[in-house]
Point group: D3
Chain length 257, copies 6
């Protein structure tokens, strides 16, 4: 079992051992992803990837995900005004990351991988980690943390396979081919390809406005069309992310320090 | 589908409608529950109960749970020093409750039921709700919230059935017959009855000490033995909680105001 | 003199000595307690009990009380909407407990007893203590804290004496026989038995609602009638709490660690 | 009865009426005041003055004091390193002031007088008030607050009477003739004139240093000698403060707005 | 005069008028930018651009910059461990942005442009703005905010001119040709081209590690070499940013809403 | 160069050395100073004084100022309701001071001088410093901080020269002769003596009211008239402050500890 909350505490304690386990912590969001898909891909995908990675490593465990993430932005997630997009304040996310990492470190863990599934979380994860490490240092604990967003491990080859007509860019990959393919592979029951709306990729000016202007966003809530998504692409994307992340983690934590 | 994050946003929007939907929000904890059980019962049980309640109501949806809860206390959860018990600060929980309720209310929801699965959360939920309602009032929104812990709906009859030799009391029902029966019913793969430790119910002095004294707690981490737990009891407990809560919610939200 | 703020600092310094003094910190609330009683019993009673306990111990001092407490709840204090009930946010109470305990520890004190007089404070005291001990640990200080609510030391015998017709339960002991008797013993000038309202003990459903519903609470603001309160019962309750707490404190702090 | 917490809630409610009552809130500190005096003058003096003022006004009530104040500074209170000086963080004091004023305003009160007894509190009171009024405005409530430190009402005539040999200045009036005289008048049992240390008024450079340098402060902890303090001076000081404050309050709250 | 703090308050008041002025608020950081340049380009450049933009608009004013920014990250600013890089916590930056925008809005301003000069600030600015607008809404104020980072207005043409041998990418433009050219144009006295270190652009793995690993960063602290920087390029970059931003602002605030 | 942000990081690193450098941190405000002067004197004056002091010391550096300060008060700065007066919350200022001092200390600096230019900042600076030193102590760092307001170094002789007809007191020196003379000396382009309004010094009752009453403040926003200000007085005031502060700093940091 890779999910640590599925273990009893004595088994968990033996896995933690001398701090040798790697704790993978998925961090996501509850956010609309178009009319054709559920609102939890940002939680389910990084959790599934974390489980995949854990299986490839000698001693890794997947922590229960942090499910509520930072406010959706127009250019990356469609914006925070869609019904169903359910986000928390930046300070709350910072504190949650901090508290959860500190708690796992107090069990004896020293190696962490934070697997982000929601772009807007990134800087708040960084700050949560910074405060957690500062706090732990005051207790005499030195921990090592890898922070990543899974899509950064999609290789150029894979992009070319998945987007044979040309890649429209990461910027508009919200509810598009990438996430939809992964969900078709992982949770086909949460995707309805009949409801995919077809539209050109969204384009944006080089600035943001607040309050957000809903007219900037396609009516679907997605930033590019998922029409070409397939479960096969999802399987491929999953494999490439899992292998890439596992290799990176293995290398980082085996490096002499 | 009862879980709102499994819906696409347009379906969700139509369910929210004019604020008629009831949003059930499970709140739990990642906490050791003895050598015989996983560390997520406080999340899984209230979520399952919420789904059960949602099925009995005309228009209810289960929100994604808040999984990390307040620090385990010796007399109710064994204490915060067990490996695997992974808890957050009180202020962080308050802020999370507040932010999440405010976000769901901004979608148009006005009726909430917070289903608690971890005793220690109670007062922080109260404070989170109080701050959320104050904040919403500043935006001209009036919402109604029911807060409950599922075990408060177990009837005297059920107690007598489940504990034929006499009830040892709610105080020591941590990882005992109640929670273990529910988990045997809901997630038998996460329970191993062979590992149940048999011991007398824990007894405590009428005060608490900090730092906690681990010698106050049985070595198992449970406060009473789960030996008599069965899936049948779990089914019964589930039914009685689901029906009781559904009746209470129905009554409260139909009452003229 | 048992109250430390009545001492001059040089006398106090000598009492603190090598950290051998026990600091008793009363924590209460300003909260309505019915038409027959002042709004300060939750401060005055734990302070009086602390003074009583201090007199029985070799070297104990009573700190100035923390008087403003957490928001009154319907089922334990009548609710936060009564004129005169004057409560602070949870985070403010957490911070106050933390700061005050840290300050007394920096004087050299290592042994604390927090004597709570207001049910709703309990979990915020726990969190304040947890943060205080964490903070002190960063400064290399290890302190020991006992946290208690005085009513938990009322014995079964005493209950039977005070409630000869059967105990209606702790739940409804707000402004009832217990607190009124104690106030008649300690501050008879703040009680007017002619104004006691007679009513059946309040009964509540197994959940809470927010915003609170004032119709759940007896018009008096008390949850059970104080009609049978007497100064003699107050004296008895006082004695049993003082002795019980003194014994517990003596035992806890003399135990080898 | 002038102290509002001594009232029952129905009496209090009738006093609050249409917001016509003036709520006097004493704010102090627990702080050393030399070897000859207790550590609570900053609480007891403003409370006594508030009671005196309340008696002169048509409808005024004295709220329970906020007893723990901001960190003692070398030049005004001797510094925060003396045993017995027990102070809280600035943010905690800000939040306490804010919460308490908001709570009293929610009872219907609209007129407040904050009576400060500890110099270091001043700016944190200002900020607490500013945040309270901002918060109340979001609820549609407009309140009026007078903030004062009682010593600012000592007249030049009184100074000349109390310091016939020349006034050494407010700066060094910590534990000196002023406070000691007031305490001799109000609480002679908490003063021991035999222990007064005689020393020249403290002198300081035009800057502060942190961490504080204890060698800047007289060994007594007082900044000037209380040798000439008398109960008669205390009575005079009391009268002049009470009358001056009552006149100011009367004028401010009767002024057309 | 374009800088609002250089105006007297009566002149400022007349400029604010009915909320027609556009307030440009530069936000930067104090951060090392290599051995050849001062540590304030992230403040000086956005301030200069703001002044340039203000000159092109009918009624715009440049607010005093927020100078201390969020913690430098390895991949965008070299990392937070360089001497001279002086950064503040995320929550502090969020609060500063919020307070400052609220204050300017209370003067009557309704149109804001936040001109960011430090990549790491971006999400904290977003959160500060979100909280400011929420707060203002509680006061009945609706404001409009444009948020931008100046480099997003550099056109493809300009890139091709400034990097005739191929653009190494925005990712490594820390202390490189772009910022150095702008500083050579604006503040040549703060640049010493003799000290430019020549090195290949930095390359990074697709993840981050904490604590940061200084060996990932070139010894210079810059992420690409500034060798080809010239004042002429700086003038060109300045012009293209100023004109692009002025056009965007003009369009956004003249759009019917 | 005395301003540390004007240095490149390698030069800065060599100046910091073994913690021997003195870091002067100016702290000001953006606040109206009458119709005749810009709104930045509270930033510009302490920065100029810091630069002057740095030139007299062996190894001192002036940090980039903290420009936004605490809310202007009626009796010291005219009040927080003037257009252009742009102030931040107390907690935000506390956190900014704390974060900035901690950041400079992590570079290796151990000697700080905080040069305040805005009266209302004083206590929030004290709290920021206290929290910074506490935080640094948890990291094993001991730093020394001098906190001063520049006007406290104006000598009696200088007062007599600048105010030949008698000093109206520090209390009303807002936008008056002192600050205006300094600005005439330092930044004559930001002063227009033709716009000075002539009026008697403001007088205030011995208390404050909130919300502020604008009728207490002269229409000019200044508390006394600047009519007699001259650049010569400014030069004199500058010299006397610079020399006094340099002497104090030299003495404090050379004193054996």
């Amino acid at each position: 079992m890779a999910k640590l909350a599925d273990l009893d505490w004595l088994t968990y304690e033996s896995r933690v051992g001398e701090g040798d386990a790697v704790i993978l912590l998925p961090i996501g969001a509850i956010e609309q992803h178009g009319p054709h898909m559920s609102m939890n891909p940002d939680v389910l995908i990084p959790e599934a990837i974390s489980v995949g990675v854990a299986r490839l490593l000698a001693n890794a465990l997947v922590a229960h995900p942090i499910a509520y993430g930072y406010k959706s932005q127009v250019k990356s997630g469609g914006g925070n005004f869609f019904p169903g997009t359910t986000c928390i304040n930046g300070k709350t996310l910072i504190d949650t990351i901090k508290d959860v990492v500190v708690a796992y470190a107090r069990h004896g863990n020293r190696k962490f991988v934070l697997v982000n599934g929601h772009y807007e979380n990134s800087m708040f994860i960084v700050e949560g980690i910074d405060l957690a490490l500062e706090h732990l240092r005051h207790e005499g604990i030195e921990a090592q943390v890898v922070v990543l967003s899974y899509w950064d491990f999609v290789t150029q080859d894979t992009i070319e396979t998945v987007f044979p007509d040309g890649f429209t860019g990461w910027d508009v990959e919200h509810g598009g081919v990438l996430e939809t393919s992964l969900m078709l592979h992982l949770h086909p029951e949460l995707v309805n390809m009949d409801k995919v709306m077809d539209h050109a990729p969204a384009t944006f000016p080089p600035y943001d406005v607040f309050p957000s202007d809903p007219s900037w966003v396609p009516a679907s809530g997605t930033l590019s069309s998922a029409r070409n998504a397939t479960a096969e692409f999802g399987e491929l994307l999953m494999a490439v992310c899992v292998e890439g992340i596992a290799a990176a983690v293995r290398e980082h934590f085996s490096a002499p320090r």
